[in-house]
């Protein structure tokens, strides 16, 4: 990835623009342009919008897979029912825990009102949040490791990718979810990389974006687990 200094400027709006635009948007405009200079949606952090777009796309992908699973189970009698590896439930607990640690991290990262009336300290907030962020990433990695162990468990029982459509879907869904989760870990690593000793609003924004994704992965996994448990 490029070094940050070479990125072209984007969405930097001169701070005076807001007032400027609003000034012009007043009564001096008439006719068909009566609503000039309103309806502006300049977001400070497009990623806050983008992440929901990404969530929509990923949901669509998994919806497509789940509908394929349901159809595939219905068309042929070769669907092998098997017991999900117990490991998965532990993994689920780990993943849920990671969501909790991430929330704690976000909470710590917030600038708390300082009772002394002094400017709140961004570097202190960052220092408080740092270990929780690491914990979240570690739990995420543990989850992926656990998923791999669940695979080995299943393989030991003789259930491989091509053994039965049920096992095929199991491997495909867990693998794709695992890959997406690793993407989330990478996202958190990016937050970590940008973890200057300062909790400025932009960095909190980035962390917020990463946590939307993380919680979505978390929820998606629980959904997948329910589907897999009910279907296999």
């Amino acid at each position: 990835m490029a070094s940050t200094t070479k990125v072209p400027p984007q969405r930097q709006i001169a701070p005076d623009l807001t007032s400027d635009g609003q000034r012009m948007g007043g009564s001096e405009l008439r006719g068909r342009s009566r609503s000039a200079a309103v309806g502006v949606a300049q977001n400070a952090l497009p990623a806050e919008t983008g992440i929901w777009v990404a969530v929509a796309a990923i949901s669509m992908s998994f919806a497509s897979l789940i509908s394929a699973l349901i159809v595939r189970q219905g068309v042929a009698p070769d669907w092998l029912h098997f017991q999900l590896p117990r490991m998965l439930y532990l993994n689920t607990a780990i993943l849920l825990a990671s969501s909790v640690t991430l929330e704690i991290c976000r909470h710590e990262f917030d600038l708390r009102p300082d009772f002394n009336g002094e400017e709140s300290r961004g570097d202190e907030a960052a220092a408080r949040a740092f270990p929780w962020l690491c914990a979240t990433m570690a739990l995420g990695l543990f989850f992926v490791l656990g998923q791999v162990m669940a695979w080995r468990d299943l393989a030991a029982k003789g259930l491989f990718l091509s053994s039965s459509p049920s096992s095929s879907f199991f491997y495909v869904l867990t693998a794709l979810h695992g890959l997406h989760l690793l993407g989330g870990v990478a996202g958190l690593a990016y937050v970590l990389y940008r973890f200057r000793p300062n909790a400025d609003p932009q960095q909190r924004g980035v962390l917020g974006v990463a946590s939307v994704y993380w919680h979505f992965m978390d929820g998606l996994w629980v959904f997948l687990l329910v589907i897999l448990a009910a279907r296999t």
Binding site: V7, Q10, R11, Q42, P46, V75, S162, S168, Y213
Partner: protein, 589 residues
């Protein structure tokens, strides 16, 4: 996850060649890269269509050098039926994915969407760069299939299982080539997902002051609606491709049914569903048709008023039509499968929304016609392609009436009638949109005008030519001429061969006419007349900056928008049009 760059990192445009032209983060460079990729792909697709038409007209014709390209595909320079199908598959895949998706949507959208909403760049420039390069890798992987093992895939762009899913046993072209096809499409999906993510976020977040959604140009609306469709469609296709690849390489049975006996060999697959692939594919495939054509709607709705010197009849209605077409496009995929063996009752269910889509399409056509009424139309090459677009879209849309009815589809399905239909409504209409957009925005993109005389010649030859090529295909379809046939050996098809030859000859002419366009493009790029900032006297934001725009699009100015995008033919103080950025008042007449 990208992140905002604090203002302190603002260092101006990159200076090194690689950062400036190859791995550029600038949406304008990326847009041109997409356009260049589409040009390469369309040239390849055009040559493939020529080869196909030669073979269809004259079965035993030896095509010089073809044997060099593929000794097995054309021993003694004579095309084999499997190579014909391979070329057909590659023609369709290149055209649909790498031309009709990249040119009107990714190329123009990338270049113009940020400028038209007044942004300095896309929301996620790095993703934008990745989007192009991922697409480029997909292109390279697809082209590679020409040179592997038993040749490029021959299962058609729809790649129906089990032909596509059982591997090399299915015949020549179904080995490594087909795997590369699936991999290429999967990669392509990722590229377009990144692109759509950018388009949507940029439209939602980066509009400049005063650029309300209602004031966005219709072209921007086209790209925005398209990106929403593309986001969901490619997200659905991607896992389908993954499953297909697994069926081919890992021995799973998602799409390969049990008890397949190919060449006396019982294949080891268990109970997969070929229809599942069709459902997944068409759930993407039908919206893909609108991914190709919706940017065209937008481009035409922007270009037409600029040359007609009047507002479009009802831009809110056009937006409404585009949105409803986008929405409906997800409910009609089954109309590709009326005779596929799915429950015949569902055919009725899919037929109705398919027919309903014709309502917004008809409304749009009427609005364009209504816009032409009373206009003072300036017939430039771009304007000609815009009205040509309306004509081919009407023709293509009307044949959809036949195919939307299951009771007629049972006769017309998989005949040349379908080929005529989708070429008119998707390929030709989209291409006309691309041409209209190219002649319109070339001055902005390259700072030079395209040659109008050549452009007009290009239009006339193309417009008359495509009717000669594709109108007779309706007749072929009515006569029951099956598509995807490498040769017409059936008795009842023999009388149709002269018509096929007429089509072939017309196709050579249409193809040759495109060389005028290529020449014009490259000649004008270097030696065209210098373009002014606003040669067409158009009003949208891209025309209020220089041609070509500076690195940050507006030279550090922060635009404020006061008007809708098509204030033409109005009584302004000085001109008969008002720029979106002009703070002046419009006198209502």
């Amino acid at each position: 996850m990208s992140s905002p760059e604090p203002a302190v990192h603002h260092h101006g445009p990159p200076q090194s060649f690689i950062r400036k032209y190859i791995f550029s983060l600038d949406h304008k460079v990326i847009g041109k890269q997409y356009y260049g990729l589409a040009l390469i792909a369309v040239l390849a697709g055009l040559i493939l269509s020529w080869l196909m038409r030669i073979h269809l007209g004259w079965q035993a014709a030896a095509i010089p050098l073809l044997g060099k390209l593929s000794p097995t595909g054309a021993p003694g320079n004579v095309m084999t039926p499997d190579y014909y199908l391979s070329l057909m598959t590659m023609h369709a895949t290149l055209m649909i994915f790498f031309v009709l998706t990249t040119a009107p949507f990714a190329a123009f959208g990338n270049y113009l969407l940020p400028i038209q909403v007044g942004a300095e760049d896309m929301a996620f420039p790095r993703f934008n760069m990745m989007s192009f390069w991922v697409t480029f890798v997909a292109f390279v992987v697809l082209i590679l299939s020409f040179f592997v093992g038993d040749g490029p895939p021959l299962a058609g762009w729809t790649s129906y299982a089990p032909l596509s899913s059982v591997g090399g046993v299915a015949g020549p072209g179904q080995g490594t080539g087909q795997t590369l096809w699936a991999v290429s499409i999967a990669i392509f999906c990722i590229g377009q997902l990144l692109g759509s993510l950018n388009f949507i976020t940029t439209t939602l977040d980066l509009r400049t002051k005063g650029m309300s959604l209602a004031r966005m140009p219709l072209s921007t609306w086209g790209w925005f609606v398209t990106s929403v469709i593309a986001l969901l469609a490619f997200a659905a296709l991607l896992p389908a491709c993954v499953l297909l690849i697994l069926d081919r390489t890992a021995g799973t049975s998602f799409f390969s049914s049990a008890g397949l006996v190919v060449n006396d060999q019982v294949l080891p697959h268990s109970g997969g569903s070929p229809l599942l692939w069709q459902h997944l594919f068409w759930f993407f495939g039908h919206p893909e048709v609108y991914i190709a054509i919706l940017p065209g709607f937008g481009i035409i709705s922007t270009v037409l008023p600029a040359f007609a010197r009047k507002r479009i009849l009802s831009s809110r209605a056009v937006i409404g039509c585009m949105v409803s077409i986008g929405f409906l496009s997800y409910m009609v995929w089954g109309h590709h499968m009326f005779v596929s063996g799915m429950n015949p009752f569902s055919a009725v269910l899919f037929s109705l929304p398919t027919l309903i889509i014709t309502i917004p399409a008809t409304i749009m056509v009427l609005l364009w016609l209504g816009t032409l009424y009373g206009a003072r139309m300036r017939y430039t090459a771009s304007a000609l392609f815009s009205v040509g677009f309306i004509s081919v879209f009407i023709t293509g849309g009307l044949s959809g009436f036949f195919l939307a009815q299951p009771s007629l589809d049972t006769y017309l399905h998989a005949t040349y009638f379908v080929v005529a239909h989708f070429h008119f409504v998707m390929a030709l209409a989209a291409m006309f949109g691309i041409f209209a957009g190219t002649y319109f925005w070339f001055p902005k993109m390259f700072g030079r005008m395209m040659n109008e005389t050549l452009g007009k010649w290009h239009f006339w030859l193309t417009f008359i030519g495509v009717y000669c090529v594709f109108m007779p295909m309706h007749y072929l379809g009515l006569a029951g001429n099956v598509r995807r046939y490498a040769a017409f050996t059936d008795n009842y098809l023999a009388p149709l061969i002269p018509l096929h030859r007429f089509i072939s000859i017309s196709a050579f002419f249409v193809g040759a006419a495109q060389l005028i366009f290529f020449f014009n493009l490259f000649w004008s790029r270097f030696w065209g007349a210098k373009a002014t900032d606003n040669p067409w006297e158009a009003t949208t934001l891209e025309w209020s900056t220089t041609s070509p725009p500076p690195f940050d699009n507006f030279g550090g100015r922060h635009l404020v928008v006061y008007h809708g995008p098509e204030e033409y033919g109005v009584d302004s103080d000085t001109l008969e049009y008002v720029m979106q950025t002009a703070p002046e008042q419009i006198k209502t007449t």
